[in-house]
């Protein structure tokens, strides 16, 4: 495979336009406030596009499609919860926070409790969540470049893209980002929708593409004991006369029934691993006790192996070693698989719905609205813009399963995460060079996706570093010029760390990593914001303890599962993380613990909230004396001017 000129051209144009827009607007943004919140003068349409542009990351653009392809129905929870999470943010947090009028979450944390100490604690999570969230963006970058330049190592792509964006942010700041991100939303929307419509027109629409999975005609075809077809085969769909193409699935791909199952490969992974371990155990038991029994048994007499129990008697009675293992495995799965998968699903829902509210780079954007009503109208448009977008990526995954099943065999950057990039190229078979052009467009969209999210995160994290760590903690008397210089240095510093982290995560799925970043946000910032907005008796200590405990627990749990997953990798990362390999045996023995670590939100969010309540009750004496005024500022309509009154009262102090 060689470099496709169309793909290269489209990608290059996207990068060039993004960088040019960043540089151009760098000239117009002068003050430090411009950099942090774009002067609060952004229109509703522009801001809604920019928020959506920032929200739709590499996970949305590439990750969802890749995960739908690899896991099927399970992965649909992600796009739906990304959209629902935004609604949750709108319902409970967006309005009050906008009225309070602080630049960042740390600003809010400090203002709500009059506590500079708390600000320092809160800043830590901007960096935690930010770094967790940049890793999947970097994977997207590495995957895309490895696709455009076949043969290029994954890490080179990460370094290249990371360096370009870091430079852009260091020179452009937030003002540039607003314009660039609004543009990038529309670039992404165009890039994901147009190829889908063309693909559906040629190969059959969404419903049909889902429909051939588990289709009776297909099952019949397969059951005719033919060898797996090497190339394309045509068959007539039994409800629709359109001829659908489908290729044979490699053995690594999940079967149709599993893929369509609401509790599919993703949610049942832990249970499956545990069941396999139990199967192995049963085989050992059979070796010890059953082999002798089977030898004694007269041939032809059926042994009683059909009862679904795992008692040692039934294992010993099994006619062969495989039967013993298989029976034990099936029996265990029948009992535990679905409840565990249900738990996983709920934890995932909680993580994403609550986590959206705690993403540092999304909340900052609410402050760029001129007033509260505009903020609400903006959110409505964001809901529509991202909702329309999220219908498309799963279609790529579905068509990809039918037409490009080879990707199931790929590892890391060559796996299903690149389906969005590669799928449109199939059209070259019929209408060259249309396939290359559309593939170039999706590559351009992917660039827009990870570039916009990465730069948004970089601005948030650098803002935290320059504004909080440097401007407030290290050098409180620094001049705006010094802070601006620190912003640039900080951008380079954080960009560098993100690049290093990004080169480690090639074996992990993009969407999966983003889900974990959401879980950490859900267990730290979400309880803080939610309780601080609605519960007056929350004290600083209560908030700090809850946020730290929930956030750190979720972080450690998520990191542990990532390490153990990386240890399973067959590439170089497997060696780097080999220390964590024994963890996988532990997970196999304790599937429940594995699920609770992989998706920690279901316990970490309540833990944070309960701790906040308990500690606040214990430190009730430290409730800020002006908490009523704070609540009024948070909840009274802005037209009443309570905020100005509050600021005036506090000036002399």
């Amino acid at each position: 495979m060689q470099i496709d000129p169309y793909i290269l051209a489209f990608s290059f144009v996207t990068v060039a336009v993004t960088v040019w827009m960043g540089f151009r607007s760098a000239k117009t943004s002068k003050t430090a406030s411009d950099f942090f919140v774009a002067g609060r003068s952004v229109g509703v349409g522009m801001n809604a596009s920019a928020i959506s542009g920032e929200y739709l990351s590499a996970a949305s653009f590439m990750g969802i499609a890749g995960m739908v392809m690899s896991s099927g129905y399970d992965a649909l929870w992600y796009p739906v919860c990304y959209a629902c999470g935004y609604l949750f943010l709108l319902l409970f947090i967006a309005g009050p926070l906008r009225r309070f009028g602080a630049y960042t979450i740390p600003d809010f944390a400090e203002g709500r409790f009059d506590s500079p100490v708390f600000r320092k604690i809160a800043v830590v999570f901007v960096l935690f969540i930010g770094f967790f969230y940049t890793m999947p963006q970097m994977k997207g970058a590495g995957t895309t470049l490895a696709y455009i330049f076949p043969g290029l190592p994954y890490w080179v792509g990460v370094v290249l893209v990371g360096a370009v964006i870091t430079l852009n942010v260091a020179l452009g700041g937030m003002k540039g980002i607003t314009l660039v991100q609004a543009f990038q939303y529309w670039a992404k929307m165009f890039a994901i929708s147009v190829p889908i419509f063309v693909l559906m027109a040629v190969y059959g629409h969404y419903g049909n593409q889902v429909g051939v999975n588990g289709d009776a005609a297909w099952d019949e075809y397969k059951s005719e004991a033919k060898p797996a077809p090497p190339g394309t085969l045509n068959f007539v769909h039994d409800t629709n006369p359109a001829i659908l193409n489908r290729k044979g699935l490699p053995p690594k791909a999940p079967a149709d029934a599993t893929w369509l199952n609401p509790f599919g490969p993703l949610t049942t992974k832990a249970a499956k691993t545990a069941a396999a371990a139990i199967g192995k155990q049963a085989e050992k038991t059979w070796d010890r006790e059953g082999a002798a029994l089977a030898a004694q048994r007269a041939p032809g007499v059926p042994p009683g192996q059909d009862s679904i129990t795992t008692s040692s008697a039934s294992i010993a009675n099994a006619p062969t070693r495989q039967d013993a293992g298989g029976t034990a495995e099936r029996a265990w799965l029948a009992k535990h698989e679905k409840p565990l998968a249900l738990l996983y699903t709920y934890s995932l829902i909680i993580a994403i719905v609550c986590g959206t509210a705690g993403l540092p780079h999304i909340l900052v954007r609410f402050y760029t609205n001129p007033d509260g009503a505009a903020a609400k109208r903006t959110t409505m448009w964001v809901m529509i813009l991202i909702g329309v977008f999220y219908v498309f990526p799963p279609v790529f995954g579905v068509i990809g399963r039918n037409l490009l099943p080879d990707l199931y065999n790929g590892l890391g950057a060559k796996g299903t995460d690149k389906i969005v990039l590669e799928l449109p190229r199939l059209l070259n078979e019929k209408y060259a060079p249309l396939g290359s052009i559309l593939s170039g467009i999706t590559c351009a969209g992917a660039f827009a996706a990870f570039m916009s999210t990465f730069s948004g995160l970089l601005v948030s994290m650098t803002g935290a570093l320059a504004h909080d760590v440097y401007g407030r903690i290290l050098r409180p008397k620094s001049t705006p010029e010094q802070r601006m210089r620190m912003f640039k240095i900080g951008a380079v510093l954080i960009g560098g760390v993100a690049i290093v982290l990004g080169s480690f995560v090639e074996p992990l799925e993009i969407n999966f990593m983003v889900g974990q970043a959401f879980a950490i946000a859900a267990a730290s910032y979400f309880p803080l914001l939610f309780m601080a907005v609605w519960w007056r008796k929350l004290t600083m200590r209560g908030a700090a303890v809850g946020m730290l405990a929930g956030g750190v627990c979720a972080l450690v749990a998520a990191a542990l599962t990532n390490f153990s997953n990386l240890a399973l990798d067959k590439g170089p990362m497997g060696k780097v993380f080999a220390v964590f390999a024994p963890l996988n045996d532990f997970w196999a023995a304790h599937p429940l613990l594995r699920i609770l670590c992989e998706q920690p939100a279901i316990w970490a969010v309540p833990l944070a909230i309960i701790l906040m309540i308990v500690v606040s009750k214990l430190t009730a004496k430290t409730i800020p004396s002006d908490s009523r005024m704070k609540m009024l500022v948070l909840h009274a309509p802005e037209q009443l001017g309570l905020k100005q009154e509050y600021i005036q009262e506090h000036q002399p102090h």
Binding site: L76, L90, L260, L342, Y346, M380, M383, W534, R628
Partner: protein, 145 residues
Amino acid sequence: MKHPAPGPTDIHSESFLRSLMARQLKLSIACALTFLVALLALPLANYYAPELMATRVFGFTLTWLVLGVLFFPFVWVIAFVFIRRSIALENSEVEEAKIQISNPKSQTNSKTQNPNSKGPGVPGALLLGFGFWNLFGIWILVFGI
């Protein structure tokens, strides 16, 4: 001279804040419950009625159609209703408060009340009771099923 006692329309009063938060929270919770019930019931439907949810509709399984396509318009409707209601709510709150602001007497009244509002917010404790238990309702829904 008729002068409204520092009652429900005094924007610094405890009762104003309480009714403000209560009304906002009620609206938010009503909207949140609508989408949470749908979102959290779907896994249960998949769990207890797998055959029904696997019924084919236009090639999709029923559950795929609901989650992958129909959920988005549903969320828009909730967002739309919430935004309209909350803007109306804010306007009515402003109207209510304006009656008080337009009256110069009560303006001075509110000034003198300010120090009070900065005292220990003991009556504020009551508000929590309401808000907090309502919230608890949601969490029970999330985790109790």
